[in-house]
Structures are given as structure tokens and as C-alpha cells.
């Protein structure tokens, strides 16, 4: 890899866009094949959606397992250049010879930072926490789990806030640099892998399910944050309105999925995810009732055992029929979930403490378009395209669970390098 003296021109074999599990895998696999790779990530941390999970299914190990290994492989690897807080502005050229313009956003914290936390403690500005899907607040200077590099980052919207001075003053290492400017970097690369992943479908659009209207209706990704030890509740699952313990919880499968009014496709992971959430709840509340409303439970392959195992728990109840109506009981803020039980032919109206919507996967490129001429399918996933030569990896291609993303990414690297080689 050639990097110009000022750092604004890089020549490499492979550019990987997206620093989640798929992108990290791509960059590492390429480097282990002896190729140079630049890994670009928009956020100040690596690991993407996976970093924000509590556990993987079906083995129920924390993401730190796989992530730590990958981070170590990256840190000890001189063939991969990682750029966080970086986005792709322009892609020109063709397979074998692209020129890509990147913008690196300022972190406002330099490498003097020792992650001592003093600035964060001193900070009085609290902002909406996107990392936790809006649960709780974070400070205007913060360090996400899996921050890369492992230093603090300042929220650009607040550095001019008079209260921000307290953070700067608290730093003993002169690590703040509020004059940092966005930097443009031009990368010459032979191949491009796009692995910008996904975001959860906006549950507020599913009007009949009351998300955003009723406090105790949350989504599956929020459940991950509630259950995560590094999450806003330090892993304690309580219901949002009053932090009460859970006695009866519901999971609504296909919330906005397989639905032509929302996402027409099956996101493939939400069934196993809800079953996994059932284990989170069961661990903390051995007696809580867990009700799962489903159209079909889709747990192919080895996941079938996972399903059978959880279904065998005597306080896990499966209801065959889509939950199509949620209303709030005004005083208790409990929720009434209505679904037709298609096995008995009667409508069940169940009162629950809390409801989790199993929302689906939306590919990020459906809205944040790739700045190149390369086609997407009708749902916004990337199609293979020989002319553009841009190869997708992971959820950019189709909805996948984590281990399948890793496998997909490995294949994508080979395809991208192959495309570059043959051009």
C-alpha cells in the first residue's frame, strides 16, 4: 500500500466500504491473501450492527468473541488501513482501476487521548443516543464500544456549545483539537467491496402496532441494547414506562415484513432473533410468560433445534396468527395484543407488560445510494454487476445472519480480487 506523505492519496488493491462484521472480514481476508486493503467506516467505531448485539444465535455467545479476534487481526495487520468517520463521495474508473474520493470527518480528539473518561464525566451535554436506538442518553463526548481507534470522539453538533468547554478543560492530556477539519482522501484501488449493511425498518410506519405511540412497545434491536451489558440499562431488561419487572412479554413476528405495505420480503433472521430474546428474558425472569405471535417460524437448518429447544419451555407460548393490533391500557400502560389464533379460529386479546416488534432489515444502500452506476434489486439489495465491478458483501446482498455474513464476505473478497485481476 502506498500512502502519500500528507496522507491524502492512497493506492491499494481493495477498498472495503463498511466496517461491520462483513467489511472487517473482507479486509482481513484480503490482507491474509497478501493484498492491501483500505477499510472505510462512517461511524467512529467498528463492528456495525453486530457490535450492538447482546448475543449471537444460536450459540448465545456475546459478539465480543468474534469482534475482539477481528479487531486484533486488524490491529496487528499492516496491510489494512482503517479509516473511521469516513464516507465515500465519488467513485470513478472501472474494474482494475478505480479512483475513489473519501471524506474523513473530524473526531476533534487526537491520539493523545488515553480514554481516561474525565472529559465524559465533566460533560453536561446529553444527547439522543443513536447507538442505543434512542434508549437513554449519551454525552456530547463519548466513546462507543469498539471505538476505532480506542479514543474518545466529540459530537460535532456540540463542540461550539459553551458548555462543551468543561469537557476540554477536564482533559489532562491536551487531546482535544476543535480546529480539526474534514479531510479529503483519494484512493486508487483495483477492486471495491461494498458492505454497508442494514438498518432496522422504521417501526413507526407500522401504525397498527403502536411503536412510538406506546412506551412499552419496542423493537428487536432495542431489545438487544436493553439486554447488552454495555447498554443503557447495563443489561437489565425492564419495561420502559416504569422500569417494572417483566411478567408477560410478547413478540410480534413479521412486524412490517412479508408485507407489501412495508417490506415485501422475509428478513430471515427475526424469528431466530426473537427466540434468542426469549432466552434473554428467561434468564432474567424464570417465571415470565413469553408469547410469540407468528405467521410461520422460519428457523432453517440447525436453527430448528434452537426453535424446538425454546418452544419446549413451558412458559413460552406460540400463537399462530399475526398480531395486527396493539392498544394501550391507559393506567397500567400494559398493552393488549390482538391476533386471530388460526388454529382455534378465535381472536386472542392478550394483555402484556411489554411487546417487542420483530422488525426487518432494510439495506442501507436502498437510501444511501452507492455513488456509482450499479444496479439494485427491487428491494434495494445490490445486484452483481460486471460493468461496475462493485461486489457486495453481507446484508448489502441479501438479509443474512452473522455467520452467513462472514461466509458471504469471504466469497466476496475472492470475487472482488478476481474481478480486479481479470480487468
Amino acid at each position: 500500500m502506498e500512502i502519500s506523505e500528507s496522507g491524502d492519496r492512497i493506492t491499494t488493491d481493495l477498498l472495503v466500504v463498511g466496517g461491520g462484521i462483513s467489511g472487517m472480514t473482507c479486509a482481513i481476508e484480503a490482507s491474509e491473501l497478501g493484498k492491501d486493503a483500505v477499510l472505510v467506516e462512517k461511524e467512529p467505531y467498528l463492528g456495525g450492527r453486530v457490535a450492538r448485539m447482546n448475543q449471537y444465535f444460536p450459540k448465545l455467545c456475546p459478539p465480543i468473541c468474534g469482534m475482539e479476534i477481528n479487531l486484533k487481526r486488524l490491529r496487528t495487520n499492516d496491510k489494512v488501513k482503517v479509516l473511521t468517520l469516513t464516507t465515500v463521495d465519488e467513485v470513478s474508473g472501472k474494474p482494475g482501476g478505480y479512483e475513489v474520493k473519501l471524506t474523513v470527518q473530524p473526531r476533534y480528539v487526537n491520539n493523545n487521548c488515553t480514554a481516561c473518561e474525565e472529559c465524559e464525566k465533566a460533560c453536561e451535554i446529553e444527547v439522543e443516543d443513536d447507538y442505543n436506538y434512542g434508549i437513554g442518553k449519551r454525552k456530547a463526548v463519548y466513546m462507543p464500544s469498539f471505538a476505532y481507534p480506542t479514543i474518545y470522539v466529540a459530537d460535532p453538533n456540540y463542540i461550539k456549545d459553551p458548555k462543551f468547554k468543561a469537557c476540554v478543560d477536564a482533559c489532562k492530556y491536551d487531546a482535544f483539537d476543535l480546529d480539526m477539519q474534514p479531510q479529503t482522501i483519494v484512493v486508487k484501488t483495483r477492486g471495491i467491496v461494498w458492505a454497508t449493511g442494514w438498518k432496522p425498518y422504521d417501526a413507526a410506519k407500522i401504525e397498527n402496532l403502536g411503536f412510538g405511540k406506546y412506551q412499552n412497545v419496542i423493537t428487536n434491536v432495542m431489545m438487544e441494547r436493553l439486554a447488552s451489558p454495555d447498554g443503557p440499562t447495563e443489561g437489565k431488561i425492564n419495561r420502559p414506562s416504569d422500569q417494572a419487572a417483566i411478567t408477560k412479554i410478547g413478540f410480534v413476528q413479521c412486524a412490517g415484513s412479508r408485507d407489501e405495505n412495508h417490506l415485501p420480503y422475509c428478513s430471515t433472521v427475526c424469528c431466530a432473533a426473537s427466540l434468542k430474546h426469549a432466552t434473554y428474558v428467561r434468564e432474567q425472569y424464570p417465571d415470565a410468560e413469553i408469547h410469540i405471535f407468528y405467521i410461520d417460524i422460519r428457523t432453517p437448518g440447525r436453527l430448528e433445534d434452537f426453535y424446538v429447544n425454546i418452544d419446549s419451555n413451558e412458559k413460552v407460548f406460540m400463537h399462530r396468527g399475526k398480531a395486527a393490533e396493539i392498544r394501550e391500557v391507559p393506567d397500567s400502560k400494559n398493552l393488549i395484543v390482538a391476533a386471530e389464533n388460526t388454529l382455534t379460529g378465535e381472536i386472542t386479546e392478550m394483555e402484556l407488560d411489554m411487546v417487542v416488534l420483530a422488525t426487518g432489515i432494510v439495506p442501507n444502500i436502498a437510501e444511501d445510494h452507492i455513488p456509482a452506476d450499479t444496479p439494485l434489486d427491487e428491494w434495494g439489495f445490490l445486484l452483481p454487476n460486471a460493468a461496475s465491478g462493485i461486489v457486495g458483501a453481507g446484508v448489502t446482498n441479501r438479509p443474512l445472519e452473522v455467520s452467513a455474513c462472514v461466509q458471504d464476505a469471504t466469497g466476496s473478497v475472492l470475487r472482488a480480487l478476481n474481478t480486479a485481476e481479470r480487468s
Binding site: 407489501e260 405495505n261 396468527g321 391500557v329 378465535e346
Partner: protein, 388 residues
């Protein structure tokens, strides 16, 4: 011992449902969103999810005898919220349309009235009848009809006696045929969808009449008020026009025949209450009909599929009102040729409406009423309360 339940799918039935406006049927994957969003479905016996699968399985007898298909008033909320575009509301409408063919006798009439190719023939019959009356009454000399200006005397061209004979026969035949169809429908409902626990037949009938009178279920449809007003206007407009016609028959024919001095001479003129009933009914039907036609033209999602049977019924009904009102206006304006032509069309359309009633969408007045009575009598028509 295991009891075998053998399903005998009627594939022809599935095809006919698809042809009658339920072409989205096979998209249904039984998620049951429809049963939950429905504002009329009862909690313990909801529709239309079950009716969708019964139809997909070709269980013709079961599904056509299910009173639930008549509890639906097609607000189509199920169709707009259906995740698959299976449009249960349209499928249920198709099932209702097929009910006339299935239960009505003779069944070839049901098929003919559902077939647009038969329309010219079905109109030709009353046209020839009316032409025959005209020629007979005028002894072949119908020159008086062909004047642009002058007196109009409908009774001269189409004498009351002849019309009364035709329409009294029509009413009796229609009621007779309808009764046979309804008797078969009732027995099917009782055999295939038995139940108990309702308030019984008398209370159910009273409740049904009250519900139809108030259009309570139409009012529950939130997405589309136009339909509620349109149907309400047509409903009361038609009753009003029917009352006017009956009173006309009573005072002009019966009372005169009985030799009472209370008889009236045709034409009954404004502002006689009989005439007022007729005019009010006509206007209400025209406005209501226009609202419903407009709605169907809009083709909005909640309107659903408009089939041949929907259109022909709506247009004939509205046209009866339009030609009826015009008959009065053209007579007052002394425009014989236009007046007689219009009156002729009016009579043909009334014949169509009346004689063919058991086989057209008009039959819903009987089928829906009976299904509502049955469902109420066995306690399966209590819409689920949706407030917390």
C-alpha cells in the same frame, strides 16, 4: 380410531371465484391480519381469514352457506391492510355474487345474469313485452307517439291493466323464486354452520331490521363515508319510490275497482303526497347512485374490484330513478316523443330490476337480511369491541 376428513376441492368453484372479482384469492398466506383489522368480525368467530382458506380449498358448499360472507359490508380495510394484496374484501364480494347463482332457481338464470354476453337478450325480452303492450294498446296506430310537442298520456300507450298484470306476475314470480333460493340458503346455513346461544329468531329479526334501517354497519366503515351516504340514500329512496308505486296501484286501480269514492285518477299530480313520495325517492336514488358510481369510478384501493354485476346493478337502479324522474318532467313539458321513449326505457329497466331480482346483485336485499337474521339468531354477529 382416527376419523378421516376428506376434503373435496371444487376446482371449478375456485376458478369461478377468481373470475367473479376474487382473482387475488391465491395470494392469501393465512396471516389473519384481516380478521383483526375487520371492524365487524366477532371475537370468537372472526372472518374473513377462515373464508379465504375455505375458498382456496374449494369448499364451495361450506363457504357459500357461511353467513359470515354476508356480515362483511366490504369497507375493504382488510384489503388495504392485507400484507399480500390478497384482497379478502373483494373475495367475499365475489362469493356473495356467486351465492345468487348457487342458491337461486332456475340456476341457468343465475348464470345468464352474471354473463355480460346475455345482457342484450335479457333487455330484449322486456323491450318486446313493452313494445307488444304499446302496439296492442294503440291498435297498431302509434302515430301519436311521434310528435315533438303535445300532450303526453302514458296510460294510453301503456295501460295500467297491462302493466299491472306484467308487474304483479313479476312480483309473484320474483318472490316465489327468491323464496326457493332463500329456503335453500337457510337450510344450508343451518346444516353447515349450526349454532346456538343467540337470542332466537324473533329478536334476531327485529335486531336485523333495526340494523338495516340505521345502516349501522355501513357507518362503522371509517375509510369511506361516501358509501354509507350513497347506500343510505338509495335504500330509503327506493323504499320511498316503492311506497309511491304501491299507493298509486292502490288508489288508481284497487280502490277504483272497489267502487270507493277515494280513488285517484292517473296521472297523480304534484303536490299529492303519493307524488311527493315518488319525487323524493327518485331524487334520493339519483344522488345516492351518483355517489356510488363516482366512488367506483375513482377505483380507490378501499373501493375494491368493480365487477360486471356491480356495475349493471348500480347503473340499472340509478337509471330507473333517472328515467322515472324524466318521465314526469317530459310529460309536464309536453314533449311526447322524448317522454314515451323515456317511459319505455323506464319500464324495460323496472322489468329488469324486478323480474331478474333473485339472480342479480339486487338479491342481496334478501340474502343479506336472511344471513344477518341467522347469524344474530345463533349469536355470531357481535362485532369485537376494539377500545381498550
Amino acid at each position: 380410531m382416527l376419523k378421516a376428513n376428506i376434503l373435496n376441492p371444487d376446482l371449478e368453484f375456485i376458478r369461478s371465484v377468481k373470475k367473479a372479482g376474487g382473482d387475488s384469492l391465491s395470494k392469501c398466506y393465512q396471516c389473519a391480519t384481516c380478521s383483526v383489522v375487520c371492524t365487524l368480525a366477532p371475537k370468537d368467530n372472526p372472518f374473513p381469514r377462515k373464508q379465504m382458506v375455505m375458498t382456496q380449498w374449494g369448499l364451495k358448499e361450506d363457504v357459500l352457506a357461511d353467513p359470515a360472507i354476508w356480515l362483511c359490508h366490504q369497507c375493504n380495510q382488510c384489503s388495504t391492510e392485507c400484507p399480500r394484496g390478497a384482497r379478502p374484501g373483494d373475495v367475499l364480494a365475489a362469493l356473495r355474487a356467486l351465492s345468487f347463482q348457487h342458491f337461486a332457481v332456475p340456476s341457468f338464470m343465475g348464470k345468464a345474469l352474471a354473463n355480460r354476453a346475455a345482457l342484450p337478450l335479457l333487455l330484449l325480452v322486456p323491450a318486446l313485452v313493452m313494445l307488444g303492450i304499446l302496439l296492442g294498446a294503440s291498435s297498431g296506430d302509434i302515430g301519436y307517439v311521434f310528435h315533438f310537442f303535445g300532450e303526453v298520456d302514458y296510460a294510453r300507450a301503456f295501460p295500467h291493466v297491462a302493466l299491472d298484470v306484467i308487474f304483479v306476475i313479476g312480483v309473484l314470480l320474483m318472490l316465489g323464486m327468491s323464496s326457493i333460493g332463500l329456503y335453500r340458503f337457510w337450510n344450508s346455513m343451518k346444516a353447515l354452520h349450526p349454532g346456538s346461544g343467540g337470542p332466537g329468531f324473533i329478536s334476531a329479526t327485529i335486531a336485523t331490521i333495526f340494523e338495516i334501517g340505521t345502516h349501522d354497519k355501513f357507518a362503522k366503515c371509517e375509510s369511506d363515508k361516501k358509501r354509507y351516504y350513497g347506500h343510505l340514500l338509495i335504500f330509503y329512496g327506493f323504499i320511498s319510490a316503492l311506497i309511491a308505486t304501491a299507493l298509486n296501484f292502490l288508489f288508481v286501480v284497487i280502490i277504483k275497482f272497489l267502487g270507493s269514492p277515494w280513488y285517484l285518477t292517473s296521472p297523480i299530480e304534484f303536490p299529492n303526497p303519493v307524488k311527493l313520495f315518488g319525487i323524493a325517492g327518485g331524487i334520493a336514488m339519483i344522488i345516492g347512485g351518483w355517489l356510488l358510481i363516482q366512488r367506483r369510478i375513482s377505483g380507490d384501493d378501499e373501493v375494491g374490484e368493480s365487477t360486471y354485476q356491480d356495475w349493471v346493478f348500480l347503473i340499472v337502479l340509478t337509471s330507473v330513478a333517472v328515467t322515472g324522474m324524466l318521465a314526469w318532467i317530459l310529460r309536464i313539458l309536453h314533449l311526447p316523443i322524448l317522454a314515451y321513449a323515456d317511459y319505455f326505457a323506464h319500464l324495460v329497466l323496472v322489468f329488469y330490476l324486478l323480474w331478474y331480482l333473485p339472480y342479480t346483485k339486487f338479491g342481496h336485499v334478501f340474502y343479506r337480511t336472511l344471513a344477518l337474521i341467522y347469524a344474530k339468531s345463533i349469536g355470531t354477529d357481535t362485532p369485537r369491541q376494539k377500545s381498550a
